[in-house]
């Protein structure tokens, strides 16, 4: 065995107690860092997952991002147009079928055209404003989680009655509606129809459960007074991350405003950036603390071993060699501590993943989300090992710099 390693190994194995303290210090730091990393990234991913799951990845609406330019403006730079009279443009996406077909030709995912309008639901106690979304049940189930969210009935039940509707659980409770209840829905003074409740869903988002009503496209078109009209395309992609690019491409292709989930939640996502920074700071602080343990122990060892250092140097062992001994000792402690820390971290994560909370508002049982990844273990391990070597370097350098004569003279 290499002499340096052998000396280092002998030192750490003959001073078990000290070595253990060092190992435990590193292990705790590594363990907790892994736990925090798993927890933070887990909750973040869980949140994004929910975001991505509940909302369409891309929503194409019949709006445009900016007012359309006039031909004269396109031709001459100096032209400025103001106070244009309102053109009575028909609401909705033009030629929806061909738009859908052209997007579908390249889209890696599913698309569901819908007609959305606001309406009032009338019931005994009064009127509630709702959003009526006309859907094609066969397409809708590919785009949203509505099928999974159904508490009573099925999405396809929309076909089973004329003017069938699916309403949110909160709304059903509020108006006292049950399956097969008949409710009146109206838009303004003109359109009003009696609808039959065929299904009740719960999305988990209270606002949606209270105000969302699903009907067949045809029913929604009647309510909005736009026969054959489509004012929204909702898309679900095979790869949610691609939403940004897909939205850009659709917007370039159709000219309609296409919003990816990333854009719609830009505020939240930027909050995550701050969270990630906080997480890294906390992790760095924990690793730093655990490395301080190593620093202290190496300081103590080098102090206790100053006679050995003196004799090794006087025998003709080079300073770098003697310094290397202590750095290797720190790395040995670090390596064992990291391995132990991995186990601690894994157990902590496992323990936390078993913890559940009850949410009285939604009536759901929530698990603590933990993100399991080898990356955390590897990254924390590498960082700690480097930090241990660095933490040992300074006390080792200080101790081995001392001239042997000073110590030999002091001992005599």
């Amino acid at each position: 065995m290499n002499l340096l390693l052998e000396i280092a190994w002998t030192h750490v194995t003959t001073r078990i107690r000290q070595t253990l303290v060092g190992i435990v210090g590193v292990a705790i730091g590594v363990g907790f860092t892994i736990m925090i990393a798993g927890l933070m990234e887990g909750s973040q991913r869980d949140f994004i997952h929910q975001l991505v799951d509940t909302l369409p990845h891309v929503t194409v609406s019949d709006e445009r991002r900016s007012a359309s330019t006039q031909p004269a403006e396109q031709e001459y730079a100096a032209v400025q147009v103001a106070n244009l009279p309102t053109a009575d443009r028909r609401a909705g996406i033009k030629n929806p079928n061909s738009v859908v077909a052209s997007i579908e030709s390249w889209l890696p995912g599913a698309i569901s055209p819908s007609e959305q309008t606001t309406a009032l639901v009338h019931y005994v106690g009064g009127h509630i404003g709702v959003t009526v979304t006309g859907i094609d049940p066969r397409r809708e189930v590919k785009v949203s989680k509505l099928a999974d969210q159904m508490q009573k009935g099925q999405v396809s039940d929309l076909f089973r009655a004329s003017n069938a509707i699916i309403i949110g659980e909160a709304l059903a409770q509020k108006i006292g509606a049950q399956i097969r209840s008949t409710v009146t829905i109206s838009v303004g003074e003109t359109h009003s129809l009696a609808a039959t409740v065929v299904g009740i869903f719960r999305s988990g988002v209270h606002q949606i459960d209270e105000s969302q009503v699903y009907t067949l496209l045809r029913t929604a078109q009647v309510l909005s007074g736009q026969p054959g009209g489509i004012n929204q395309l909702r898309l679900r992609l095979d790869d949610a991350v691609a939403a940004k690019d897909v939205a850009g491409r659709i917007e370039a292709q159709t000219g309609y405003k296409s919003v990816s989930w990333q854009e719609a939640n830009a505020n939240l996502l930027s909050a995550f950036t701050v969270r990630a920074f906080i997480m890294l700071t906390v992790m760095a602080a924990m690793l730093f603390t655990s490395c301080f343990a190593t620093y202290n122990i190496i300081s103590t060892i080098t102090h206790e071993k100053r006679h050995d250092i003196a004799i090794m140097k006087s025998l003709g062992l080079k300073e770098q060699f003697v310094r290397g001994i202590f750095i290797v000792e720190s790395v040995i402690m670090g390596a064992v501590g990291i391995a132990a820390g991995w186990v601690i971290g894994y157990l902590l994560c496992y323990g936390l993943s078993r913890v559940t909370f009850f949410n009285p508002l939604s009536g759901e049982i929530i698990n603590v989300p933990i993100y399991w990844t080898v990356t955390h273990y590897a990254a924390v391990g590498m960082l700690t090992l480097t930090a241990c070597a660095a933490a040992a370097f300074f006390p080792a350098r200080k101790a081995t710099r001392v001239h042997p004569v000073e110590i030999i003279r002091g001992a005599a």
Binding site: L3, I7, T10, H11, T14, H307, D308, A310, I311, M312, K313, S314, L315, G316, L317, K318, E319, F321, H403, P404, V405, I408, R409, A411, A412
Partner: protein, 247 residues
């Protein structure tokens, strides 16, 4: 006189500080091959400081030390360490053995640092060295399992590990009883007889009396120089006759 193994010219070692003082004040000394030199003097006279300078453990403030004819003042710490490893063996008042290692491992330490030999050759050589010093039974013991005299002999074996030309000993018997002192004396005398240069700082007049030459240091200067025997063969016969007495 033999060729000088170690030679100093105008050696001065000053300690700068709030109160500066001179440890070694202008020493010219030449020690030949196979010579046994004893350095004596009162406490604080600078004899140990001189020894550290001779062993390249410390650097002089002024003057020059030649080891094997080579000037050493311009050398880096690394180069000095190299010279110490190859040509100087150290023995101190305290054995300074590495406490976690066996006698054998302690002797192997300088050999392994120098390299050059295979592990089995080094082991054989270290075992032979320890055996020659009467430590055959103790090779696998740790320092705390050994007596003071045995520890000091292990330290001697370690000093001899790389066949150094010079053995530098600082009060090697300072902590030993009479019998152990006698053993260590005998070993040092033998080493000198084998053709190595031995430089010993000692308080012990008995040890000093057995050296080839004795210099007394007072206030950092050579106060007295006595040649005890010009012929090493004389010393050997004298040595042998004395070695018989205590046993």
């Amino acid at each position: 006189m033999n060729t000088a193994v170690i030679q100093t010219v105008g050696l001065v070692r000053r300690v700068e500080g709030v109160v500066s003082h001179v440890l070694v004040n202008g020493i010219d000394l030449s020690v030949g091959k196979g010579e046994f030199l004893a350095i004596t003097g009162p406490s604080g006279s600078g004899k140990s400081s001189l020894l550290y300078l001779l062993g390249l453990l410390d650097g002089p403030t002024e003057g020059e030390i030649f080891v094997g004819g080579r000037a050493t003042s311009g050398l880096t710490e690394s180069q000095k360490a190299e010279i110490r490893l190859k040509t100087c063996g150290f023995v101190f008042q305290f054995h300074f053995l590495l406490p976690e290692f066996t006698a054998l491992d302690n002797v192997l330490l300088p050999m392994r640092t120098l390299g050059g030999l295979s592990m089995s050759q080094m082991r054989a050589k270290a075992l032979a060295l320890l055996a020659s010093l009467g430590l055959a039974e103790q090779v696998n013991k740790r320092p705390h399992q050994l007596s003071g005299g045995q520890r000091q002999r292990v330290a001697l074996a370690r000093a001899l590990a790389n066949d150094p030309a010079i053995i530098v000993a600082d009060e090697p018997t300072g902590n030993l009883d009479t019998a152990s002192t006698e053993q260590v004396f005998g070993v040092l005398r033998d080493i000198a007889n084998q053709g190595r240069t031995v430089i010993v700082v000692t308080h012990d007049p008995g040890l000093a009396a057995r050296a080839d030459r004795r210099i007394q240091i007072v206030d950092g200067k050579i106060a007295q120089e006595t040649w005890l025997s010009k012929q090493r063969s004389d010393a050997r016969t004298e040595e042998e006759s004395r070695q018989v007495e205590p046993s």
